[in-house]
């Protein structure tokens, strides 16, 4: 079997243009790799038949863009017409949508080939992907470890080199934290940069679709085609789409970078802090200025995140009632029984927990005490970030407080999962773009990632720094034994 999928996207694009390979070669190789990596459980649904059909269809077409004919997979909360979309839930186990998400339309327009749907936490609720109805995906660096979540499958598929690109979604770190755990590049764009139309919502005011890739450049290429105003999503921005690769390769000399003190506090493992400090030294050496700053309310992010996310989720998930689509309990006695049993049997424990807590948080006076107050603090946090960005180009720090932990660890404390994301949630709260770029490994050879946070719509600047670090470190991020080292 060929190894075209180990080549860079630019190299593949060149081969396709020169007709040395065909899209079908990539598709076959991709499915071959997926077959070999079945144990990682990165996929929920594969669409081999249509992928092959599409690849053959593309043979007659001109290779007109860098992502032409490239296989891609999507987190299973992104709606795909005629292709099962489960949200990793029993509730949607047999749900075949009748429309396409806007991002899916965009991928199809660029003639990318959709291979399948990636595993995730049920309805994106979790930070380990263990709440999936289809079982957890495994970390390719150590199959005893979690992949992170909720976009675990999307990240594992790329990290294990089954596919070069995937899409994930990030509500409170769900792209960046697993990217950090698995050693890939993951971007959560500015809220409103990518249309949410067709993303099954978890928390509407925070959700954002973003690219997962092997390297920085390819990540920017994918953002180029999914970004932009969508008339079907009122929260999408009219801000013009730029070429997100355009600053890649530029010198970082003179860049002003801030490190929030909270990001380097005791909540973060020492090994991770050491790695981040090495990067800080590197950047200083290359002419960037680094300041340590305080960002007011950043330590409240986890608390307000939980309130906002669960409140919105309780409402967003109300539509799963067994009437129009999805799971419906057998022989309901009456309406109430239909609601109760459908939701009791269709949702997993974590989803039910969050719906219940969310309903409580919005109930009666609680809406004022919790939800509205959380929105106020969120505004305050946003302002703190805005203040920082008056002086700094970018903010950096770790993405996760630890490396990927054991697959059987800590499932008993439902709050812990939120604290896994303490460093990534503030970005969502402020609507800012955040990304992960791998910066090395701990002593157990588990990946460590750097978080880069940009000002709104300054993804290009983030890619510039990330690409610089990537080039300087030149890490081998391929976990496969035979190619590793």
């Amino acid at each position: 079997m060929s190894n075209y999928l180990d080549l860079s996207i630019q190299e593949i694009n060149k081969l396709l243009k020169e007709k040395q390979i065909k899209p079908i070669d990539l598709v076959n190789e991709c499915f071959d790799r997926i077959e070999k990596n079945k144990d990682l459980n990165a996929f929920i649904t594969l669409d081999k038949e249509n992928a092959i059909k599409k690849a053959i269809e593309l043979e007659g077409k001109e290779v007109d863009n860098p992502l032409f004919g490239i296989p891609i997979a999507l987190k299973d909360n992104i709606i795909t017409k005629d292709l099962r979309t489960t949200c990793a839930s029993r509730m949607l186990e047999n749900f075949i949508p009748i429309y396409n998400a806007t991002v899916v339309k965009k991928l199809i327009e660029k003639n990318m080939i959709i291979i399948g749907k990636c595993n995730m936490d049920e309805f994106a609720m979790g930070s380990t992907s263990r709440t999936s109805y289809f079982g957890a995906p495994l970390n390719p660096w150590n199959k005893e470890r979690v992949s992170g979540g909720s976009s675990g499958g999307s990240v594992v598929a790329v990290a294990s080199r089954q596919i070069p690109l995937t899409l994930g979604s990030d509500t409170g770190g769900s792209i960046r934290q697993p990217s950090s755990y698995c050693g890939v590049v993951g971007m959560k764009p500015t809220y409103g940069r990518v249309s949410r139309y067709g993303l099954v919502p978890y928390a509407s005011s925070l959700d954002q679709i973003g690219p997962v890739s092997r390297n920085v450049y390819e990540n920017a290429l994918l953002l180029n085609i999914i970004a932009g105003k969508d008339e079907l999503d009122l929260t999408s921005s009219r801000k013009e789409v730029e070429d997100y690769t355009r600053l890649i390769g530029e010198d970082i000399k003179g860049m002003k970078i801030a490190v929030p003190n909270y990001f380097m506090s005791d909540i973060v493992d020492k090994e991770i802090k050491d790695k981040v400090n090495e990067i800080i030294e590197l950047l200083k050496e290359k002419g960037a200025t680094i300041d340590y700053i305080d960002i007011d309310f950043i330590e409240n992010a986890v608390t307000i995140y939980q309130i906002i996310v669960m409140a919105e989720a309780s409402s967003n998930l109300a539509r799963f009632d067994g009437i129009r689509y999805g799971y419906s309990c057998e022989n309901p006695k009456d309406m109430e029984d239909l609601y109760k049993r459908t939701r009791q049997e269709g949702f997993g424990t974590e989803v039910k927990r969050r719906i219940m807590v969310g309903s409580y948080l919005l109930s009666g006076e609680n809406a004022n005490v919790y939800y509205n107050k959380a929105l106020q603090i969120r505004d305050d946090l946003k302002k703190s970030f805005e203040k920082a960005f008056e002086k700094y180009d970018l903010i950096i720090g770790p993405n996760a407080t630890t490396v990927a932990y054991g697959i059987n660890a800590k499932l008993d404390d439902p709050r812990q999962t939120f604290f896994d994301d303490a460093l990534v949630m503030p970005t969502n709260m402020a609507g800012l773009p955040g990304m992960n770029v791998p910066i090395g490994f701990n002593n157990e050879n588990m990946p460590i990632g750097l978080q880069i946070i940009g000002n709104s719509f300054e993804e290009a600047k983030m890619y510039k720094l990330a690409a610089f670090i990537e080039k300087e470190l030149n890490l081998n991020l391929d976990p496969r034994g035979e190619n590793n080292g």
Binding site: T235, E312, R319
Partner: protein, 471 residues
Amino acid sequence: MDSYKTTVGIEVHAELKTKSKIFSSSANNYGKMANTCTNVIDLGYPGVLPTLNEEVIKLALRAALVLNCKINKTMHFDRKNYFYPDNPKNYQITQNRTPIGVDGYVEIDTNNGKKKIRIHDIHIEEDTCKSVHSSNKSLLDFNRAGVPLVEIVTEADMSSAEEAMAYLEKLRELLLYADVSDCKIEEGSMRCDCNVSVSKTEKYGTKIEVKNIGSISNVGVAINYEHDRQIALLEKGETLKEETRRFDDKTNSTVLMRVKETGNDYRYFPEPDIPYVTLTDEYVKEVEENIPMTADKRKEFYLASGISEINIKKIIQNRTVSDYLNKFIDKKINLVIASNLLLGDIAAYLNKYEMTLENTKLTDDKFVEVVNALDSGKINSKIFKEILEDVMEQDLSLDKILDNHGVKEMSKDELLDIIKNILDNNEQSVNDYKNGNDRAIKFLMGQIMKETKGNANPTLVTEELTKMLEK
């Protein structure tokens, strides 16, 4: 018994006359085959998002303005969370904290003069599906899901069935004339829920809500029924509980639906999928300036034009007639004649052939010609009746039609000649007249009309004849 005071508050839902739904591009159509005006958004599919139909904002703003409301220039939508099969997302997108209009009023006529019914608020929301129950099955029609509504909530300011009905008539007239809603209660595009309570003291009594009332007159029936029912219970020493009742138009009574439990918990929160809407001062001004003339302004104007009160009432009841008439306001035609024509001969013609004005050949110019011809005495109403069908059906000018009917324009000189001639030939009658025989003039008139073949304006003839006889 009658020391009890009745208090009524009313909630009205009115569907807005937009082409498409509030949050999707589906058509807003009544009476189409079930589930043909729907899409994934109306069905509440996973992952879909609402868009916002700007026409809805415009019409709701108009409604808020004609209800004299203060406008919330920065407003947002809220989610009202409750489970019900007719509620596709199991939350309804509505406005809770920032309704588009607050603190308005509607002025009604009562036996004791004018009275202001205060409007607590008017807010925008989406309609639910229609449920149809047949035997042991319930069916859902999503054509109505997402149809734009305004909900108009009064303060508890009405104290009788008559006031409630007057309020609803007035509200209907306001919304209809502002082109906000077609307010067809029978099609459900206007729905009223009444809150009725009775009390002997200053404190309000227990609030009973009555739903499902299918006409304005039945609102009166329902309120009177509740008034009697509640007083009878109180007189028996019973305590009333807050409850929701349904009006039954077969028995003209109300039937218990459910007892209200501790306040509904709708878990309202701001809809995160729709950004805040800002109404600029210029926008509000523009919308205000483009509100069609209200019924009250029309009445004033018609009265000043000399139209009778009876005809004014008829015109206002028929929006098409009023709009047609208003087209000629600037043309300085005799509106009394114009309205008589529209309500009389033309209305009869349209009724007879089941037609509307638009599909006749009566152009605006031709209408002006007709009205002016009648006004100047060029033709009389008898002639108009003769030529009516041609006026309505032929693509010809009035003159041409008159020509075809052999109706020649008679100059005043011609007329005077004819009168003189008749007088000369009927000396006896002239003398009879001078001797005080009133019947003589009738005979002379008849002779003249015969001679002119009815082409003369009788008023003019009488005038000239009298003048000549008095000489």
